[in-house]
Amino acid sequence: MIHRRRLLQGAGALLLAGLLKPLAAFAAWNKAAFSSKTSADAMKSLGTPSAEASGGIVIEAPQIAENGAVVPIEVMSKIPGTTSLAVLVEKNPYPLVAKFDFSEGALPFVKINAKMGETSDVRVIATAGGKHYQATKEIKVTIGGCGG
């Protein structure tokens, strides 16, 4: 019986490995950070519990977004050696919207369209050389975009 159980366990592990294989090309999705309900918790889960305010982070976004379902947010870091940018919408049910890791060959720049439930600060966290920096910008939303 023991042999059979081992065999089954082995077969199960192989099957699982086979199933997971196509996913291996992607980094793990930070479930803890994305299911955080406050930006402070999300920042903790991202490994950036505190961040220094910086003028080196540029957030280009409309002051007033008429349609909260599609709010264009352009983010750029002028801080040398920036390897990561995270975008959080403070008042969304789950504040963390996106996080990008940049390797050699990519500039720390990204433009995304985000949903915003209501008028909120948008917070951007940049990581450079093991240090964390942040900047915020308020975007006013006239029609929310989360309920659809």
Partner: protein, 98 residues
Amino acid sequence: MAGPMKMRATLGSGYTDLRVLMTHPMATEQQTKGQPHFIQNLTVKVNGKTVIEGEISQAVSRNPVFSFRLKGGAKGDKIEVSWLDNKGDTNRTETAVA
């Protein structure tokens, strides 16, 4: 299931401008009564080398459009973008820098 993707890569001044569109409902919890369906991971590769890895949430708009900037670049560089959603659907597209 995965809808079409569109991508354009053009040489800018000192960088390559990359724009990519993904066809995806990006359905939130609120819209689906607790059954969200959204892209979680995306990867940008240049000539086979990963340069950008992204993790995104259900708060990214439907049919997401992303812009990125790649350092330098030359005509003919091969750009590949792929994504994976929370239900295991995946898609990829390739283009050459124009």
